[in-house]
């Protein structure tokens, strides 16, 4: 017993060590690549900073601005300086917000995290439940309805769903707010949880609607496989109820793969949140990403790239870890089924 425990701890430690090394390598590569990318952009950072005031700001001031952001230095020197700062945990200063990039990301990530976590949990639970239902009772009407839902929505653009929900619930029925994450007129400290949830409702729904389909389809496939297996036939023959079978066999066998798949969908959820935040004017990290790209805020864009890469890397690592936990053989099968 004890030796088995230590073996599994050792295995986990090895996994952790390998992943940490991997993360360090990936981060070096991502930093270098993204720096090269933004350096070669045709967007001139000084001009992007000045924005609409181009005619009000003379040439001397432009030189001063370039000096302030270190833009008068050669790219190699800038990279070394930037990378040196990154190692010390300093991501630089955002040009749009005139605030340290880390604090810009921190503030906005909290907002997005609430939204993404709610959507992630909601879509996971609903998707899994729908998948089980349509798998256990497949070929019945309920399964057909769920299939149709997944068929239509698995590949609908999330921002379109968001717009349609906005038109219907906010503009026509006026049940939900049109934009923002907090109600107008209340200082940040006095906003209640109910008000926040009310503002999160529609963005969260649009984000979940899409990811539900993925989880549901995957779970259904698994469930049908399990339901047709010999040991379920045996259990049925023994007179177990459908509910008991689901509880004892199906849930146990299909939950972990579903969670694992759901972890690796963090990438898509984050992508969806960028689009959804744009539709609902929800001031999270996604909106900051778009602003940084459109208005040429290079430090912020790089900071967000680094931050979100770490975030997604952990999601992928969690998925990988669960694969190894489930079954070494499954690992290969899952990958084949992924597409």
């Amino acid at each position: 017993m004890i030796s088995r425990q230590t073996a599994s701890i050792r295995k986990s430690a090895a996994f952790l060590g390998e992943k940490t090394f991997r993360l360090a390598m990936v981060m070096c590569l991502v930093c270098a690549m993204s720096f090269v990318l933004v350096q070669n952009s045709p967007v001139d950072p000084v001009r992007a900073y000045i924005g609409a005031d181009a005619n009000q700001i003379g040439t001397e001031q432009r030189t001063l601005i370039a000096e302030r952001w270190g833009l008068d230095r050669p790219p190699a020197e800038r990279f070394i300086r930037w990378a040196g700062q990154i190692v010390r945990g300093n991501l630089g200063t955002s040009m749009i917000f005139n605030e340290p990039v880390a604090s810009v990301i921190g503030k906005r990530f909290i907002v997005s995290l609430g939204l993404m976590a709610a959507a992630w949990v909601l879509s996971g639970i609903l998707g899994f439940a729908l998948g089980i239902i349509s798998g256990v009772w497949h070929r019945r009407a309920v399964s057909k309805i769920i299939d149709l839902y997944c068929f239509v929505l698995a590949s609908a653009p999330v921002f379109w769903i968001a717009i349609i929900l906005l038109v219907f619930f906010s503009v026509m029925l006026q049940w939900t707010p049109v934009s923002g994450s907090t109600p107008p007129g209340i200082p940040a400290g006095e906003i209640t949880l109910a008000q926040r949830l009310h503002h999160m409702l529609l963005p969260c729904a649009s984000l979940s609607v899409i990811s539900i389909a993925g989880v549901a389809l995957h779970t259904k496939k698994k469930t049908v496989e399990i339901m047709q297996s010999d040991y379920i036939l045996y259990a049925r023959a023994r007179g177990e109820s459908a509910f008991g079978i689901v509880l004892r066999h199906v849930l146990r066998n299909s939950l972990l793969p579903a969670i694992s798949l759901h972890f690796s969908s963090l990438n898509e959820i984050f992508g969806g949140s960028v689009l959804v935040e744009q539709v609902f004017g929800y001031p999270g990290l996604g909106k900051a990403t778009v602003d940084a790209g459109i208005r040429g805020d290079v430090p912020l864009l790089l900071g967000i790239t680094i931050f979100t890469t770490i975030f997604i890397f952990f999601g992928n690592a969690a998925a990988d870890y669960l694969y190894t936990v489930i079954d070494p053989r499954m690992r290969h099968m899952e990958k084949i089924n992924e597409y």
Partner: protein, 279 residues
């Protein structure tokens, strides 16, 4: 989907029928596109905000442009972007996957690292970064989608070939004195080609959706050329004034196009995949 079709007498025929139906739908889009001239794209201030059915099938926008024309042209634009970027990224994927499997450990390690890196950067961030570098436009979108989508397929192809390398008949072939290159050309490529084709078709929906999303955010196409993402982002300005048709139809059309490729891809993979094609 999978299960429903298994119950039918001949799944292969059924798949072939689905694919044919989808191809016919696609062709009709092109025929339609060729039949419609560009006059609907011009502004006509006398015909603004026409609701669907009132002298225009899908209505007109705030400049009097015909939405039916714009959506048809926009779909074709999406199709072009999709096909270019799907081919591009599948090619990158195959080259990377093959290189990793064939050129030894060092190359394999580099490719594995690249795959890891590209899988870890969120798609949307990578898309924004690349189109920021290229300054947007058609070229920008296609390259951005290529760069961000190859990694998943490359991982599958690499795994497939690694598995293949360990298989008996390759080992045998190697022991019989065949060169690496010969084995690659005669055993591996044919094996990988079906994976490539399925990967290519299944890449389509992703490519189209991501391209539309990128345009929606303002990084892609300029508004003077119709493109579904741009149409939807423009519709955002007219939601509370009640012009719902500007938002509803472009999105629905895009879903239909994506769905066509989903169905083609699913059925093609069922027919081509070595594991299920005997079903």
């Amino acid at each position: 989907m999978n299960i429903r079709l298994v119950s039918l007498p001949n799944p292969r025929q059924k798949s072939a029928a689905s694919i044919t139906a989808c191809l016919i739908l696609l062709c009709s889009l092109f025929i339609l596109n060729a039949m419609i001239d560009e006059t609907g794209l011009g502004t006509d201030l006398g015909r603004r905000y026409l609701a669907p059915g009132h002298g225009s099938i899908l209505g007109t926008d705030w400049l009097g442009r015909d939405m039916f024309t714009r959506i048809t042209k926009g779909l074709c634009m999406s199709f072009h972007i999709g096909i270019m970027s799907a081919i591009g990224s599948s090619l990158i994927a195959v080259i990377m996957g093959l290189a990793a499997a064939v050129f030894g450990k060092k190359v394999d390690a580099i490719v594995a690292l690249l795959i890891d890196a590209f899988l870890s950067v969120p798609h949307i961030v990578l898309l924004i970064l690349v189109s920021f570098t290229l300054g947007g436009g058609f070229k920008g979108i296609v390259i951005a989608v290529c760069v961000s989508h190859w990694s998943r397929l490359a991982r599958i192809i690499r795994a497939e070939i690694l598995q293949l390398k360990g298989s008996d008949y390759i080992m045998m072939s190697y022991r019989l004195g065949r060169s690496r290159r010969w084995i690659m050309a005669h055993h591996m490529l044919p094996h990988v080609s079906s994976q490539f084709l399925i990967g290519l078709i299944l890449m389509f929906p992703h490519a189209i959706l991501h391209a539309a999303g990128l345009s929606f955010l303002g990084f892609g196409m300029t508004p003077d050329r119709p493109c579904i993402g741009v149409l939807l982002s423009e519709s955002m300005r007219h939601i509370s004034t009640g012009y719902w048709w500007l938002a509803l139809f472009p999105g629905a059309a895009l879903v239909a196009l994506v769905k066509i490729f989903d169905v083609i891809g699913e059925n093609a993979s069922r027919m081509l995949n070595p594991r299920t094609k005997q079903e």
